[in-house]
């Protein structure tokens, strides 16, 4: 039986882990869009943790975090550039599976570093062709600064100071370690597991917990770095410079935490997210054909062990299969299961 009961602060402060999941690679009806990441909170809100689409967040006081998760993303049509929902070809079955290896390390009281490395499998079946490919995806490295020295989660609001939220300011870089259209040895779009460009993100998380409820808002702004391209799918082409459009991600979530008798905790959260990418550039000229957007909703749950070292998590991110919920982007469902281990 689940009961909600107050705990001492010292115990509750241990709940603040919140790795937010491996973000999602939304591939085009195959892998061609891989790397257009859409956040999936793999761990629901918990005390003073936080996260973004592209990183793991350590709880206050913890030194290491190891994270492993599996994403299963299935495709169900797409939005065209007018925002209209269009079905995938009848008889097609398009999926992408990702194993995400994550690690976070606290190198100062309020500073932490994290890395996420995905292994991606594309599984695309059309009536006339099918392809399965496995390769690394793009790697994310992040640095976060916590603007607070003490845990800001409270059970009651007694003073104005109790309303202070936990604010995280971070920066991430996406390394093109995946197979892109410009990589050596990539023959077709089914083999693509990365976007082939570096991207720098500025991230912000604001979170407030007044038990048992947590409110969380996240945002990030990313800029791709221009790069030269001299081959496409192993075919030499006239060299040109390519840059994808700036990326904006916003999400908001609300969570509720239950505490079991033996101090285990179960957190359930609901979130809404919006991802947009602007026009890219080819040789300095605007390329509006790469613009896209996607809105999604998600449900997440996390079970935390009594000693707060182990977390089991699951989430479901759902893109609404209706007009105007996206543009030039696949409509997908993403199921994530994962486990995290925290070392203090």
């Amino acid at each position: 039986m689940i009961t909600l009961r107050p705990k001492s602060r010292s115990k509750l402060f241990d709940l603040n882990l919140k790795p937010i999941g491996p973000f999602l690679a939304a591939t085009i009806a195959s892998a061609a869009f891989t790397g257009m990441f859409v956040a999936t909170p793999a761990l629901a809100a918990s005390c003073c943790g936080g996260g973004s689409a592209t990183t793991l967040i350590l709880p206050k006081g913890a030194r290491h975090l190891y994270d492993f998760s599996i994403d299963i993303e299935s495709y169900d049509g797409f939005w065209n550039q007018d925002g209209e929902q269009v079905n995938d070809p009848a008889g097609s079955d398009l999926s992408q599976y990702r194993m995400n290896f994550g690690y976070a390390y606290r190198f100062a009281d309020n500073w932490q570093f994290s890395a996420i490395l995905p292994l991606v499998k594309n599984d695309n079946v059309y009536p006339g062709i099918s392809a399965q490919n496995t390769a690394l995806g793009d790697t994310t490295l992040s640095v976060w600064y916590e603007t607070f020295d003490q845990i800001t989660c409270v059970w009651q609001v007694n003073t104005f100071a109790d309303l202070r939220p936990a604010i995280y300011i971070g920066s991430s870089i996406l390394l093109p370690t995946g197979k892109s259209a410009y990589s050596d040895g990539v023959d077709n779009s089914f083999e693509v597991t990365g976007r082939g460009l570096y991207r720098w993100d500025a991230n912000l998380i604001v979170e407030k917990t007044i038990y048992p409820v947590t409110l969380n808002a996240q945002g990030s702004y990313g800029a791709y770095l221009e790069r030269p391209v001299n081959q496409e799918f192993d075919n030499a082409v006239e060299p040109y410079d390519k840059k994808l459009g700036d990326r904006r991600y916003l999400s908001a979530s609300v969570a509720y935490t239950y505490f079991f008798e033996d101090v285990d905790a179960l957190t359930v959260s609901a979130a809404i997210a919006d991802l947009r990418e602007g026009a890219g550039k080819i040789n300095g000229q605007s390329d509006p054909l790469t613009e896209m957007k996607k809105s999604s909703v998600s449900l997440s749950t996390t079970y935390e062990s009594e000693d707060k070292s182990w977390l089991l998590k699951g989430s479901w991110s759902h893109a609404i299969s209706k007009d105007d919920w996206g543009q030039s982007f696949p409509i997908t469902d993403i199921f994530t299961i994962g486990v995290s281990y925290v070392v203090r």
């Binding site: 085009i28 061609a32 190891y66 070809p89 197979k179 001299n230 799918f233 060299p239 390329d287 054909l289």
Partner: protein, 194 residues
Amino acid sequence: MLFDNLLRRKNRKSARYTSGSRMYKIFTLITATLLALSLQGCKEDLFPSDKDNRTETIITTVDFVATTTLDEVIDLDALLAEYDAVVLYYTMWCPLCDTHMSYITSAIMPNYPQTAFLMVDYVSGSVSQSRRSQVENGYQALTVIADSDQSLLDQFHATMATTVVISQDKLVLLNEDFKNGARLIDTLNTLGSQ
């Protein structure tokens, strides 16, 4: 005594190998291995080059015969007898393909009436399925080839969004990703087929 000391030291050392440190080693090993593999597989992306690796040779293609989604048989020779050039665009009915096809239809095709534009569907597997995808995506007005056996895919070493321009003398003037369409327009302009 010496043995006891060694045993105590060994036990202390063992105690230090907590589950956390074991996890650390495992993760470090996995991460290092994957990173090492990734660096081998994606050098071109991590350290991109602007070196022009194209050869001077312009490829000449052979004739092909294909079936459209209206069950019409077309062949390259006949098309080139009627048009200045033939453009092939490879689609898998994806969001990016839709964006490209929409742009080709609205911004490129009207300016090149002496060019034949053919969309190549290499994923549907049959004429009927290809036609259904064409209609559902709103491109009834375009000529779509049902490349059910992927013969055109293989002939031009193509993939999603590959764009091919073939001149009247069967030279392959362009064979690359569509991108923003500028290369296609430049190539068609050199043919003077407006």
